[in-house]
Protein backbone atom coordinates (compact mmCIF):
# COMPACT_ATOMS: atom_id res chain seq x y z
CA UNK A 1 0.00 0.00 0.00
CA UNK A 2 1.37 3.37 -0.96
CA UNK A 3 1.23 6.00 1.74
CA UNK A 4 0.51 9.51 0.48
CA UNK A 5 2.52 12.51 1.59
CA UNK A 6 -0.39 14.02 3.47
CA UNK A 7 -1.09 10.77 5.33
CA UNK A 8 2.57 10.68 6.29
CA UNK A 9 2.38 14.25 7.52
CA UNK A 10 -0.69 13.42 9.60
CA UNK A 11 1.02 10.45 11.24
CA UNK A 12 4.05 12.61 11.95
CA UNK A 13 1.94 15.24 13.69
CA UNK A 14 0.08 12.56 15.65
CA UNK A 15 3.34 11.05 16.90
CA UNK A 16 4.69 14.50 17.76
CA UNK A 17 1.64 15.40 19.80
CA UNK A 18 1.58 12.14 21.75
CA UNK A 19 5.32 12.48 22.35
CA UNK A 20 4.90 16.01 23.67
CA UNK A 21 2.06 14.90 25.95
CA UNK A 22 4.09 12.02 27.30
CA UNK A 23 7.17 14.17 27.89
CA UNK A 24 5.07 16.71 29.77
CA UNK A 25 3.67 13.90 31.91
CA UNK A 26 6.82 11.90 32.57
CA UNK A 27 9.73 14.16 31.73
CA UNK A 28 12.05 13.83 28.75
CA UNK A 29 14.28 11.14 30.24
CA UNK A 30 11.48 8.90 31.44
CA UNK A 31 9.33 9.04 28.31
CA UNK A 32 10.07 6.02 26.13
CA UNK A 33 9.77 5.84 22.35
CA UNK A 34 7.79 2.63 22.83
CA UNK A 35 5.13 4.35 24.90
CA UNK A 36 4.99 7.29 22.49
CA UNK A 37 4.33 4.87 19.65
CA UNK A 38 1.63 3.11 21.64
CA UNK A 39 -0.12 6.40 22.53
CA UNK A 40 0.01 7.53 18.91
CA UNK A 41 -1.39 4.21 17.72
CA UNK A 42 1.59 3.28 15.56
CA UNK A 43 3.97 0.32 15.72
CA UNK A 44 7.45 0.51 17.22
CA UNK A 45 9.26 0.31 13.87
CA UNK A 46 7.01 3.00 12.44
CA UNK A 47 7.96 5.61 15.04
CA UNK A 48 11.66 4.99 14.30
CA UNK A 49 10.96 5.47 10.60
CA UNK A 50 9.78 8.95 11.39
CA UNK A 51 12.15 9.84 14.22
CA UNK A 52 15.39 7.92 14.74
CA UNK A 53 15.79 9.36 18.25
CA UNK A 54 14.01 11.36 20.92
CA UNK A 55 16.22 14.36 20.17
CA UNK A 56 15.17 14.28 16.51
CA UNK A 57 11.62 14.42 17.75
CA UNK A 58 12.28 17.67 19.57
CA UNK A 59 13.80 19.29 16.51
CA UNK A 60 10.90 18.09 14.40
CA UNK A 61 8.52 19.67 16.90
CA UNK A 62 10.21 23.07 16.56
CA UNK A 63 10.17 22.81 12.77
CA UNK A 64 6.51 21.86 12.87
CA UNK A 65 5.69 24.96 14.91
CA UNK A 66 7.52 27.15 12.38
CA UNK A 67 5.36 25.64 9.67
CA UNK A 68 2.16 26.25 11.61
CA UNK A 69 3.19 29.82 12.42
CA UNK A 70 3.95 30.65 8.80
CA UNK A 71 0.65 29.06 7.73
CA UNK A 72 -1.12 31.21 10.32
CA UNK A 73 0.52 34.37 8.94
CA UNK A 74 -0.59 33.43 5.44
CA UNK A 75 -4.17 33.44 6.66
CA UNK A 76 -3.98 37.13 7.53
CA UNK A 77 -5.53 38.77 4.51
CA UNK A 78 -4.07 42.25 4.89
CA UNK A 79 -0.66 41.08 6.08
CA UNK A 80 0.96 43.03 3.24
CA UNK A 81 -0.29 46.25 4.86
CA UNK A 82 1.66 45.50 8.06
CA UNK A 83 4.93 47.34 8.64
CA UNK A 84 8.12 45.29 8.86
CA UNK A 85 8.07 45.62 12.62
CA UNK A 86 4.45 44.49 12.79
CA UNK A 87 5.20 41.50 10.56
CA UNK A 88 8.16 40.39 12.67
CA UNK A 89 6.22 40.96 15.86
CA UNK A 90 3.31 38.91 14.54
CA UNK A 91 5.65 36.06 13.62
CA UNK A 92 7.12 35.89 17.11
CA UNK A 93 3.79 36.31 18.89
CA UNK A 94 2.25 33.58 16.74
CA UNK A 95 5.08 31.14 17.52
CA UNK A 96 4.72 31.81 21.24
CA UNK A 97 0.97 31.39 20.97
CA UNK A 98 1.55 27.94 19.46
CA UNK A 99 4.03 27.07 22.19
CA UNK A 100 1.57 28.09 24.86
CA UNK A 101 -0.38 24.85 24.54
CA UNK A 102 2.78 22.83 25.23
CA UNK A 103 4.44 25.33 27.55
CA UNK A 104 5.63 22.70 30.04
CA UNK A 105 7.31 20.87 27.19
CA UNK A 106 9.06 24.04 26.00
CA UNK A 107 10.18 24.75 29.57
CA UNK A 108 11.83 21.31 29.61
CA UNK A 109 13.55 21.86 26.28
CA UNK A 110 14.77 25.30 27.37
CA UNK A 111 16.15 23.77 30.52
CA UNK A 112 18.00 21.12 28.50
CA UNK A 113 19.41 23.73 26.11
CA UNK A 114 20.41 26.40 28.61
CA UNK A 115 21.30 24.48 31.74
CA UNK A 116 21.99 20.77 31.45
CA UNK A 117 23.45 20.93 27.93
CA UNK A 118 21.45 17.80 27.13
CA UNK A 119 20.71 19.43 23.79
CA UNK A 120 23.15 21.21 21.59
CA UNK A 121 22.38 24.77 20.56
CA UNK A 122 24.01 24.03 17.21
CA UNK A 123 21.52 21.33 16.44
CA UNK A 124 18.68 23.64 17.33
CA UNK A 125 20.04 25.95 14.65
CA UNK A 126 19.48 23.26 12.06
CA UNK A 127 15.73 23.56 12.69
CA UNK A 128 15.44 27.23 11.85
CA UNK A 129 15.55 27.19 8.03
CA UNK A 130 11.90 28.07 7.53
CA UNK A 131 11.97 30.74 10.23
CA UNK A 132 15.03 32.39 8.70
CA UNK A 133 13.62 32.20 5.19
CA UNK A 134 10.42 33.86 6.38
CA UNK A 135 12.28 36.70 8.10
CA UNK A 136 14.51 37.05 5.05
CA UNK A 137 11.48 37.44 2.82
CA UNK A 138 9.92 40.03 5.13
CA UNK A 139 13.15 42.01 4.96
CA UNK A 140 13.32 41.78 1.16
CA UNK A 141 9.74 42.92 0.84
CA UNK A 142 10.38 45.89 3.14
CA UNK A 143 13.50 46.86 1.17
CA UNK A 144 11.70 46.51 -2.18
CA UNK A 145 8.85 48.65 -0.91
CA UNK A 146 11.43 51.19 0.26
CA UNK A 147 10.16 50.95 3.80
CA UNK A 148 13.79 50.61 4.94
CA UNK A 149 17.09 51.15 3.16
CA UNK A 150 19.24 48.12 2.40
CA UNK A 151 21.00 47.50 5.73
CA UNK A 152 24.62 46.35 5.95
CA UNK A 153 25.17 42.66 6.78
CA UNK A 154 21.72 42.14 5.33
CA UNK A 155 22.35 38.42 4.82
CA UNK A 156 23.13 37.96 8.49
CA UNK A 157 20.14 39.84 9.86
CA UNK A 158 17.66 36.94 9.60
CA UNK A 159 20.06 34.70 11.55
CA UNK A 160 20.51 37.43 14.12
CA UNK A 161 16.78 37.66 14.41
CA UNK A 162 16.65 33.95 15.17
CA UNK A 163 19.10 34.52 18.04
CA UNK A 164 16.85 37.30 19.27
CA UNK A 165 13.91 34.93 19.04
CA UNK A 166 15.71 32.32 21.20
CA UNK A 167 16.26 35.07 23.74
CA UNK A 168 12.55 35.93 23.70
CA UNK A 169 11.65 32.27 24.28
CA UNK A 170 14.14 32.10 27.16
CA UNK A 171 12.50 35.18 28.68
CA UNK A 172 9.01 33.77 28.14
CA UNK A 173 9.94 30.50 29.84
CA UNK A 174 10.84 32.44 32.99
CA UNK A 175 7.98 34.93 32.72
CA UNK A 176 5.48 34.61 35.57
CA UNK A 177 3.43 37.74 34.86
CA UNK A 178 -0.29 37.55 34.20
CA UNK A 179 -0.97 36.28 30.67
CA UNK A 180 2.78 36.65 30.05
CA UNK A 181 2.21 40.38 29.68
CA UNK A 182 5.87 41.07 30.43
CA UNK A 183 6.97 39.03 27.42
CA UNK A 184 4.49 40.88 25.21
CA UNK A 185 5.96 44.16 26.37
CA UNK A 186 9.52 42.93 26.12
CA UNK A 187 8.88 42.00 22.47
CA UNK A 188 7.14 45.31 21.81
CA UNK A 189 9.95 47.39 23.33
CA UNK A 190 12.80 45.46 21.77
CA UNK A 191 11.25 45.43 18.31
CA UNK A 192 10.57 49.14 18.68
CA UNK A 193 14.30 49.56 19.16
CA UNK A 194 15.10 47.29 16.21
CA UNK A 195 12.68 49.25 14.08
CA UNK A 196 14.22 52.59 14.92
CA UNK A 197 17.72 51.26 14.23
CA UNK A 198 16.64 49.96 10.81
CA UNK A 199 14.85 53.19 10.00
CA UNK A 200 17.55 55.56 11.20
CA UNK A 201 20.29 54.21 8.93
CA UNK A 202 22.31 53.75 12.12
CA UNK A 203 23.62 50.36 11.01
CA UNK A 204 25.06 51.89 7.84
CA UNK A 205 26.73 54.70 9.74
CA UNK A 206 28.17 52.28 12.29
CA UNK A 207 29.54 50.07 9.57
CA UNK A 208 31.08 53.07 7.77
CA UNK A 209 32.78 54.08 11.00
CA UNK A 210 33.99 50.53 11.48
CA UNK A 211 35.35 50.37 7.95
CA UNK A 212 37.16 53.68 8.45
CA UNK A 213 38.93 52.38 11.55
CA UNK A 214 39.70 49.09 9.90
CA UNK A 215 41.16 50.63 6.76
CA UNK A 216 43.21 53.35 8.43
CA UNK A 217 44.46 51.55 11.53
CA UNK A 218 43.86 47.83 11.48
CA UNK A 219 44.88 47.33 7.88
CA UNK A 220 48.20 49.14 8.26
CA UNK A 221 49.07 47.16 11.36
CA UNK A 222 48.23 43.98 9.49
CA UNK A 223 50.65 45.10 6.81
CA UNK A 224 53.29 45.61 9.47
CA UNK A 225 52.89 42.00 10.38
CA UNK A 226 53.14 40.88 6.81
CA UNK A 227 56.16 42.91 5.84
CA UNK A 228 58.20 42.32 8.97
CA UNK A 229 61.58 40.96 8.00
CA UNK A 230 62.16 37.33 8.83
CA UNK A 231 65.78 37.94 9.77
CA UNK A 232 67.57 38.25 13.09
CA UNK A 233 70.37 40.35 14.42
CA UNK A 234 72.00 38.17 17.05
CA UNK A 235 73.95 35.11 16.12
CA UNK A 236 72.12 31.86 16.71
CA UNK A 237 73.41 29.19 18.99
CA UNK A 238 74.29 25.95 17.25
CA UNK A 239 71.89 23.04 17.53
CA UNK A 240 74.64 20.55 18.09
CA UNK A 241 74.74 21.19 21.87
CA UNK A 242 71.90 18.78 22.51
CA UNK A 243 73.40 16.07 20.32
CA UNK A 244 76.83 16.43 21.79
CA UNK A 245 75.49 16.33 25.34
Amino acid sequence: MKITQSAKEKTKIKILQSAVDLIIEKGFDNASMREMAKNAGVSNPTIYNYFPSKEKLLYAYIEQKHKEAVASLQEIEDFHTYTLREQLQTLIETELELYLEDREFIVQIADMVFHSSGLKMGQLYATNALFIETVDEMLSIAIDAEEIAEPPFRDHLPKLFWDYYIMVVAYWVKDDSEMFENTTQFIDHSLGLTESILHSDMLNKASELGMFFFKTHMLSSLQNFATKKSSFDKIKRKLGDVLNG
Binding site: D78, Y82, T83, Q89, D188, G192, E195
Partner: protein, 241 residues
Protein backbone atom coordinates in the same frame (compact mmCIF):
# COMPACT_ATOMS: atom_id res chain seq x y z
CA UNK B 1 6.76 55.14 15.42
CA UNK B 2 7.46 53.22 18.57
CA UNK B 3 4.21 52.35 20.26
CA UNK B 4 5.70 50.65 23.26
CA UNK B 5 4.12 51.57 26.53
CA UNK B 6 6.76 52.51 29.10
CA UNK B 7 5.61 50.65 32.23
CA UNK B 8 8.61 50.72 34.54
CA UNK B 9 8.63 53.44 37.15
CA UNK B 10 12.05 54.47 35.96
CA UNK B 11 11.18 54.72 32.29
CA UNK B 12 7.97 56.59 33.05
CA UNK B 13 9.83 58.83 35.44
CA UNK B 14 12.21 59.64 32.62
CA UNK B 15 9.41 60.81 30.36
CA UNK B 16 8.07 63.04 33.11
CA UNK B 17 11.54 64.38 33.84
CA UNK B 18 12.13 65.20 30.19
CA UNK B 19 8.87 67.14 30.03
CA UNK B 20 9.67 69.06 33.21
CA UNK B 21 13.07 69.99 31.82
CA UNK B 22 11.51 71.32 28.63
CA UNK B 23 8.96 73.33 30.59
CA UNK B 24 11.70 74.75 32.78
CA UNK B 25 13.61 75.81 29.68
CA UNK B 26 10.51 77.51 28.26
CA UNK B 27 9.85 79.37 31.49
CA UNK B 28 13.42 80.58 31.64
CA UNK B 29 13.26 81.68 28.03
CA UNK B 30 10.15 83.70 28.74
CA UNK B 31 11.74 85.31 31.77
CA UNK B 32 14.75 86.31 29.71
CA UNK B 33 12.98 87.45 26.58
CA UNK B 34 9.72 88.62 28.15
CA UNK B 35 7.61 86.73 25.60
CA UNK B 36 3.86 86.57 25.39
CA UNK B 37 2.29 84.71 28.32
CA UNK B 38 -0.53 83.13 26.30
CA UNK B 39 1.87 81.80 23.71
CA UNK B 40 3.99 80.32 26.44
CA UNK B 41 1.01 78.52 27.96
CA UNK B 42 0.28 76.97 24.63
CA UNK B 43 3.85 75.74 24.19
CA UNK B 44 3.90 74.25 27.68
CA UNK B 45 0.56 72.58 27.11
CA UNK B 46 2.06 71.08 23.96
CA UNK B 47 4.97 69.64 25.93
CA UNK B 48 2.72 68.21 28.62
CA UNK B 49 0.41 66.65 26.08
CA UNK B 50 3.30 65.05 24.20
CA UNK B 51 4.69 63.58 27.39
CA UNK B 52 1.28 62.27 28.44
CA UNK B 53 0.81 60.79 25.00
CA UNK B 54 4.09 58.99 25.45
CA UNK B 55 3.04 57.60 28.80
CA UNK B 56 -0.41 56.68 27.50
CA UNK B 57 -3.15 55.29 29.63
CA UNK B 58 -3.07 56.08 33.26
CA UNK B 59 -1.43 59.50 33.12
CA UNK B 60 -3.94 60.61 30.53
CA UNK B 61 -6.71 59.50 32.84
CA UNK B 62 -5.19 61.48 35.68
CA UNK B 63 -4.95 64.51 33.39
CA UNK B 64 -8.62 64.09 32.57
CA UNK B 65 -9.53 64.01 36.24
CA UNK B 66 -7.50 67.15 36.78
CA UNK B 67 -9.28 68.81 33.86
CA UNK B 68 -12.66 67.87 35.28
CA UNK B 69 -11.82 68.93 38.79
CA UNK B 70 -9.96 72.16 38.02
CA UNK B 71 -11.81 74.27 35.47
CA UNK B 72 -9.72 77.27 36.58
CA UNK B 73 -6.65 76.03 34.65
CA UNK B 74 -5.58 78.25 31.71
CA UNK B 75 -7.70 77.49 28.63
CA UNK B 76 -4.66 76.34 26.61
CA UNK B 77 -4.11 73.48 29.06
CA UNK B 78 -7.76 72.48 29.11
CA UNK B 79 -7.89 72.43 25.33
CA UNK B 80 -4.88 70.16 25.06
CA UNK B 81 -6.11 67.86 27.78
CA UNK B 82 -9.52 67.59 26.20
CA UNK B 83 -7.79 66.45 23.01
CA UNK B 84 -6.37 63.54 24.95
CA UNK B 85 -9.89 62.21 25.44
CA UNK B 86 -9.85 60.99 21.87
CA UNK B 87 -6.37 61.16 20.45
CA UNK B 88 -3.73 58.82 21.88
CA UNK B 89 -1.08 56.95 19.86
CA UNK B 90 -2.37 53.58 18.70
CA UNK B 91 -1.13 50.08 19.49
CA UNK B 92 0.15 48.29 16.41
CA UNK B 93 -1.55 45.53 14.43
CA UNK B 94 0.64 42.75 15.78
CA UNK B 95 -0.34 43.68 19.33
CA UNK B 96 -4.05 44.00 18.54
CA UNK B 97 -4.00 40.53 17.00
CA UNK B 98 -2.18 39.15 20.01
CA UNK B 99 -4.50 40.76 22.57
CA UNK B 100 -7.66 39.52 20.86
CA UNK B 101 -6.23 36.00 20.67
CA UNK B 102 -5.17 36.01 24.32
CA UNK B 103 -8.50 37.34 25.53
CA UNK B 104 -10.93 35.52 23.24
CA UNK B 105 -8.94 32.47 22.23
CA UNK B 106 -9.33 33.30 18.53
CA UNK B 107 -7.48 35.55 16.11
CA UNK B 108 -9.50 38.59 14.94
CA UNK B 109 -10.15 37.13 11.48
CA UNK B 110 -11.66 33.99 13.08
CA UNK B 111 -13.53 35.68 15.90
CA UNK B 112 -15.34 38.13 13.56
CA UNK B 113 -16.65 38.27 10.03
CA UNK B 114 -14.55 41.36 9.43
CA UNK B 115 -12.16 43.24 11.68
CA UNK B 116 -10.46 46.56 10.99
CA UNK B 117 -6.90 46.28 12.24
CA UNK B 118 -6.54 50.06 12.31
CA UNK B 119 -8.38 51.59 15.22
CA UNK B 120 -11.00 54.22 14.45
CA UNK B 121 -10.87 55.78 17.90
CA UNK B 122 -8.53 55.78 20.84
CA UNK B 123 -9.67 55.78 24.42
CA UNK B 124 -7.22 56.64 27.14
CA UNK B 125 -6.94 53.08 28.37
CA UNK B 126 -7.60 51.29 25.14
CA UNK B 127 -8.53 51.71 21.53
CA UNK B 128 -11.61 50.94 19.51
CA UNK B 129 -11.84 48.86 16.34
CA UNK B 130 -14.70 48.41 13.92
CA UNK B 131 -15.81 44.84 13.27
CA UNK B 132 -18.80 42.97 11.94
CA UNK B 133 -20.32 39.82 13.38
CA UNK B 134 -23.50 38.13 12.14
CA UNK B 135 -24.30 41.19 10.04
CA UNK B 136 -24.05 43.54 13.02
CA UNK B 137 -21.63 46.42 13.13
CA UNK B 138 -19.62 46.28 16.34
CA UNK B 139 -17.23 48.49 18.22
CA UNK B 140 -14.48 46.42 19.79
CA UNK B 141 -12.59 48.08 22.59
CA UNK B 142 -9.13 46.64 23.16
CA UNK B 143 -6.96 47.44 26.16
CA UNK B 144 -3.26 48.31 26.06
CA UNK B 145 -1.23 45.48 27.54
CA UNK B 146 0.35 46.13 30.90
CA UNK B 147 -2.03 48.98 31.76
CA UNK B 148 -3.09 47.50 35.06
CA UNK B 149 0.49 47.14 36.18
CA UNK B 150 1.41 50.66 35.19
CA UNK B 151 -1.35 52.03 37.45
CA UNK B 152 0.64 50.99 40.48
CA UNK B 153 3.93 52.54 39.40
CA UNK B 154 2.22 55.70 38.09
CA UNK B 155 0.30 56.22 41.29
CA UNK B 156 3.42 55.99 43.42
CA UNK B 157 5.02 58.57 41.08
CA UNK B 158 2.00 60.84 41.46
CA UNK B 159 2.04 60.32 45.19
CA UNK B 160 5.66 61.37 45.29
CA UNK B 161 4.95 64.43 43.16
CA UNK B 162 1.81 65.53 44.98
CA UNK B 163 3.44 65.30 48.39
CA UNK B 164 5.97 67.92 47.27
CA UNK B 165 3.21 70.29 46.18
CA UNK B 166 0.83 69.59 49.05
CA UNK B 167 3.40 70.83 51.57
CA UNK B 168 2.54 68.61 54.49
CA UNK B 169 -1.18 68.26 53.79
CA UNK B 170 -2.56 64.78 53.62
CA UNK B 171 -3.17 63.77 50.01
CA UNK B 172 -3.56 60.04 50.59
CA UNK B 173 -7.33 60.09 50.22
CA UNK B 174 -7.11 61.81 46.81
CA UNK B 175 -4.56 59.27 45.62
CA UNK B 176 -6.70 56.44 46.94
CA UNK B 177 -9.76 57.80 45.16
CA UNK B 178 -7.99 58.18 41.80
CA UNK B 179 -6.41 54.76 42.11
CA UNK B 180 -9.73 53.11 42.83
CA UNK B 181 -11.38 54.78 39.82
CA UNK B 182 -8.47 53.72 37.61
CA UNK B 183 -8.75 50.07 38.58
CA UNK B 184 -12.46 50.26 37.80
CA UNK B 185 -11.73 51.73 34.40
CA UNK B 186 -9.42 48.93 33.30
CA UNK B 187 -12.02 46.31 34.18
CA UNK B 188 -14.13 45.97 31.05
CA UNK B 189 -16.42 43.42 32.70
CA UNK B 190 -17.49 46.14 35.11
CA UNK B 191 -17.90 48.60 32.24
CA UNK B 192 -20.14 46.07 30.49
CA UNK B 193 -22.30 45.80 33.60
CA UNK B 194 -22.59 49.56 33.83
CA UNK B 195 -23.50 49.73 30.18
CA UNK B 196 -26.30 47.21 30.77
CA UNK B 197 -27.57 49.18 33.73
CA UNK B 198 -27.86 52.40 31.74
CA UNK B 199 -29.34 50.63 28.75
CA UNK B 200 -32.12 49.28 30.93
CA UNK B 201 -32.77 52.38 32.96
CA UNK B 202 -32.02 55.37 30.79
CA UNK B 203 -34.59 56.31 28.21
CA UNK B 204 -33.82 59.66 26.70
CA UNK B 205 -34.49 60.41 23.09
CA UNK B 206 -31.35 60.60 20.90
CA UNK B 207 -29.17 58.97 23.49
CA UNK B 208 -28.39 55.40 22.59
CA UNK B 209 -26.60 53.21 25.09
CA UNK B 210 -24.67 50.51 23.21
CA UNK B 211 -25.65 46.90 23.65
CA UNK B 212 -22.86 44.75 25.04
CA UNK B 213 -22.14 41.32 23.58
CA UNK B 214 -21.18 39.56 26.80
CA UNK B 215 -20.10 36.26 25.35
CA UNK B 216 -17.71 38.14 23.07
CA UNK B 217 -16.25 40.24 25.86
CA UNK B 218 -13.61 39.73 28.51
CA UNK B 219 -11.73 41.73 31.09
CA UNK B 220 -9.67 43.41 28.38
CA UNK B 221 -11.83 43.16 25.26
CA UNK B 222 -15.28 44.66 25.14
CA UNK B 223 -17.77 44.54 22.30
CA UNK B 224 -20.73 46.68 21.75
CA UNK B 225 -23.02 47.87 19.05
CA UNK B 226 -21.74 51.10 17.60
CA UNK B 227 -22.83 54.14 15.56
CA UNK B 228 -22.31 56.85 18.09
CA UNK B 229 -20.88 60.34 18.22
CA UNK B 230 -18.38 61.64 20.71
CA UNK B 231 -20.18 63.54 23.42
CA UNK B 232 -18.64 66.79 22.30
CA UNK B 233 -19.68 66.32 18.67
CA UNK B 234 -23.13 65.30 19.88
CA UNK B 235 -23.48 68.49 21.90
CA UNK B 236 -22.35 70.54 18.92
CA UNK B 237 -24.96 68.84 16.72
CA UNK B 238 -27.62 69.60 19.29
CA UNK B 239 -26.67 73.25 19.40
CA UNK B 240 -26.60 73.47 15.61
CA UNK B 241 -30.05 71.96 15.23
Amino acid sequence: MDNALPTGKLSRGKVVGKALLKIGAKKTKRLLTGGNKEENHEEIADIIFDALGELKGVSVKIAQQVALGMPFLPPAYLEKISKSFNAIPSINKALVRKIVKTELGLYPQDAFDTFEMTAFAAASLGQVHLATFDGELLAVKVQYPGIKKSIESDMSLIHFGLKRFAKGQNVDHIIGEIEERLYEEVDYVLEAKNCDFFRENLQIENIVIPEVYHDLSSEKVLKAYTQTLTLETFCLCEVAS
